[in-house]
């Protein structure tokens, strides 16, 4: 990876050569492509990645939030696409989407109203948080510790 194989053909290699930081540099391959972003609070955003920086602050064009409800096989999308500027510390992962296969995941899912889906999803998260809390109590009584729930919800 320190030297490009042939001049100009492996473009990503050339970029990595010149970047002094390597962690966020990998995002450069996804610019101007449709990506999905997973945030620390569990939200999944979809949009076209326009720009980023070394902290992985992202700018997403035509961004929508999609909520998946696994139990009832339903999903919901926010109505209007917006320009998202996401602070990098809240990003768990960024992934490039294959536009052809994009809709396969929600093939069997039924689309429902976004506000309703939001309330259901919030309830699920609250329940999961409570469950984690209760489990930690049990562990603590025995003198053990559960791993820290590092999510912002």
């Amino acid at each position: 990876m320190s030297q490009p194989s042939s001049g100009g053909s492996n473009i990503e290699d050339l970029y990595l050569q010149s970047y002094s930081f390597t962690t966020a540099a990998a995002i450069i391959g996804s610019v101007d492509r449709k990506v999905f972003v997973l945030l620390r609070d569990g939200k999944t955003l979809f949009g076209v990645l326009r720009t980023f920086d070394q902290f992985a602050n992202l700018v997403l064009h035509d961004g929508i939030e999609r909520i998946y409800l696994q139990e009832t096989k339903e999903y919901a999308e926010s109505e209007k696409p917006e320009l998202y500027v996401i602070r990098g510390e809240n990003v768990v992962m960024v992934g490039e989407l294959d536009i052809d296969k994009e809709d396969e995941a929600i093939k069997d899912y039924k689309k429902i109203d976004f506000k309703k889906a939001q309330t259901i999803w919030n309830e699920e998260r609250k329940a999961a948080k409570l469950e984690h809390f209760n489990e930690s109590e049990i562990f603590h009584k025995k003198g053990l510790a559960l791993p820290y729930l590092n999510t912002t919800f």
Binding site: D41, R50, V59, L83, V85
Partner: protein
């Protein structure tokens, strides 16, 4: 263009801030700084549940507490126009400049690196923009621009194409020195 600099050019725009706590603040952007601390005017703060809490004339938000910002989608088109105008201005002003001619100097490793890349490829390929041109990525709105190259990221590529005669002459001259 880096995200923070993009924010700086969005002063006066209405936007929605979502904090890490889930609270949302609507307001018009008054100022930004390098740490993403914001001052909003005419702000309305609400809890995630939707119960409106309070309205303030002016609110200062610490950057570390922000989760994300949401703005209207059309802003990007306005921004691109602004940038194009700025660049044309700078091309005219810096015509006599050297290697750095293409780097308008607005922060960011991205642009400088592409400036370097551009100059390299320009000489080899007879003056077209560099890598991104070859890949021919078609962003949605980019089709109006030259060959569907990316927006902010490829700002310098674009400018090279627009003033092909001028900048390539400059580049060739500089590299021959």
């Amino acid at each position: 263009m880096l995200p923070i600099f993009m924010l700086m050019s969005l002063k006066g725009q209405p936007l929605l801030i979502e904090l890490k706590t889930g609270e949302t603040i609507n307001g018009t952007l008054e100022s930004v700084d390098n740490w993403m601390n914001l001052v909003l005017k005419e702000a309305i703060k609400s809890d995630f549940q939707g119960d409106q809490f309070s309205k303030c004339d002016e609110i200062y938000i610490k950057g570390t507490q922000i989760k994300c910002l949401r703005l209207s989608n059309d802003i990007i088109d306005k921004l691109k126009e602004q940038q194009q105008q700025q660049q044309q201005q700078q091309q005219r002003d810096h015509y006599g400049g050297g290697y750095r001619n293409n780097n308008s100097g607005n922060g960011g490793y991205n642009q400088n690196r592409q400036g370097g890349g551009n100059n390299r490829y320009n000489n080899n390929r007879g003056g077209r923009g560099g890598r991104f041109n070859g890949q021919n990525r078609q962003g949605g709105y980019n089709n109006n621009n030259n060959n569907g190259r990316g927006g902010y990221h490829n700002r310098n590529n674009r400018s090279n194409n627009n003033n092909t005669g001028n900048t390539n002459a400059n580049n060739n001259a500089n590299n021959n020195q």
